[in-house]
């Protein structure tokens, strides 16, 4: 069938980290030890020989990585949480509205039943559907290694195209964020050829919070329009401290286009993507502002 590799299924996190630690040295072939979560990307890439592996460390038996916790407004999902787990959890609609919206248009049912949110983040595709929502929620990743764990803001995680902060001996064990407060709106829209089973042309997530008629927090996260999913920070800066008038929203949407750097590919031209960043950013900001100021 496809490439030769070994597969181990550790029963707990420490065992998994011990095995992965073999990958953290400097010798040749170390990069060949890879964690396997849902495998919906990795197995395809191994078969196509885009990725080489000597050993896969399957995470499916590690109970500590499963589960969703909420306490005092803080949400933490274990790294084993699947897209279907997000859709099944009745609390998620309030705890992460944009993430739920992205899960609904993520691939198809069978992939959602298997693929994990953490895996989607770690694969580092610029079109990864869960990443704009998580960026719009200021999510943080917990990375564990044999020497202990560290927390990395998702906004600092991506270093370049399919490059990220995770060291070879580390595992992402969880993703956390503060649930949006009642004065905030959090929205996502995926533009693609179809609703299901399609790779994103442009994905936009926004968060807008309001106090006393002024925007206190603005987040705009753009997918599939740069080497990594990124925040449109200059566009966000235009909004904070201001009332979101149609003129200001228009200016922010134009700035979001400036903050993006799309390419032509099989799914769309760079021009179309710029147009879509403008249209979607304007639309989502308008909807979000209406939601937080008119309660609708």
């Amino acid at each position: 069938m496809f490439a030769e590799f070994d597969l181990v299924m550790p029963g707990d996190l420490d065992e998994a980290l011990d095995i992965l630690a073999e990958a953290s040295g400097d010798g040749d072939g170390d990069a060949g030890i890879l964690p396997l979560a849902g495998g919906t990307n990795l197995v395809v890439d191994l078969r196509a020989r885009r990725i080489r592996a000597d050993k896969l460390v399957g995470l499916g038996r590690i109970a500590a990585l499963r589960g969703i916790e909420r306490s005092n407004g803080r949400v933490t999902i274990g790294a084993g949480t699947t897209l279907s787990d997000i859709l099944r959890d009745p609390g998620m609609a309030e705890a992460a509205p944009s993430l739920v919206d992205s899960a609904r248009v993520f691939a198809g049912q069978m992939v959602r039943n298997t693929a994990t949110v953490a895996g989607n983040v770690c694969c580092g595709s610029p079109a990864a559907d869960t990443v704009p929502p998580l960026l719009s929620l200021d999510a943080e990743l917990t990375l564990a290694g044999r020497g202990g764990s560290r927390v990395v803001p998702l906004a600092d995680f991506f270093l370049g195209y399919q490059e990220n902060e995770r060291r070879p001996g580390e595992l992402v064990t969880g993703i956390s964020w503060d649930a949006p407060k009642p004065n905030a709106a959090n929205l996502f829209y995926k533009l693609a050829r179809r609703k299901g089973d399609a790779i994103t042309v442009v994905g936009v997530a926004v968060t807008v919070a309001v106090e006393a008629g002024k925007c206190t927090t603005a987040r705009i996260a753009l997918g599939a329009v740069a080497p990594v999913v990124k925040r449109a920070r200059e566009a966000e800066a235009l909004l904070e401290g201001e009332a979101l008038t149609p003129e200001l929203i228009e200016a922010a949407a134009r700035q979001a286009v400036e903050d993006s750097s799309p390419i032509d590919d099989v799914r769309a031209s760079a021009d179309y993507r710029r147009h879509s960043v403008h249209a979607l950013t304007r639309r989502l900001l308008s909807q979000a502002w209406a939601q937080v100021t008119e309660g609708g």
Binding site: L7, V8, M9, V43, V44
Partner: protein, 162 residues
């Protein structure tokens, strides 16, 4: 996984110990052992032809490494059959003409069963969402959605009769 790479799976209600090389997918394992009702399509997780249930939840068997499944219960479309009788989903697909070439049918039925395991009374939107990972180039899906609704009704009636 044991050194010799054998794995215990329950397939369609029957416990089996079978060899599972680390790089073998569940699709390959099943077809190698005669479960030809599981179809190979795109082998990329796009088409859903290879869908089977693992502990009641549909997965693409082409994306699932067999070695990750020790002790799990696998159901193929043939495993739904009740003795000589068709399962309500199978019967509804036949009755309503939801099958043309038939290649996608096993996967569609397993995706639908996975939905009905969790959602006995699905809306059309629920059905569309649940079948969004199954490509069918013949039927246009309308009769497929009808069959899932019909089967859901039959299954609910069976449930309330017991």
């Amino acid at each position: 996984m044991p050194e010799n790479n054998t794995i215990t799976l329950e397939i369609n209600g029957r416990k089996r110990e079978i060899p599972a090389p680390p790089n073998q997918t569940l699709l390959e394992t099943l077809r190698e052992h005669g479960y030809f009702e599981v179809k190979s399509g795109c082998e990329k997780g796009d088409c859903g032809a290879c869908a089977v249930l693992v502990d009641g939840e549909a997965v693409d068997s082409c994306l699932t490494l067999t070695g990750t499944l020790e002790g799990r219960a696998i159901t193929t479309v043939a495993g739904l059959k009740r003795g000589e009788e068709l399962h309500p989903l199978q019967a509804a697909f036949v009755k309503l003409g939801s099958i043309q070439c038939g290649y996608c049918t096993p996967g569609l039925i397993m995706a639908a069963q996975s939905l009905l395991n969790e959602t006995p009374e699905p809306s059309e939107e629920d059905i569309r969402l649940a079948l969004s990972g199954n490509l069918c180039r013949c039927t246009g899906y309308t009769k497929v959605f009808d069959a899932v609704q019909e089967a859901a009704k039959v299954l609910r009636e069976e449930e309330s009769a017991t």
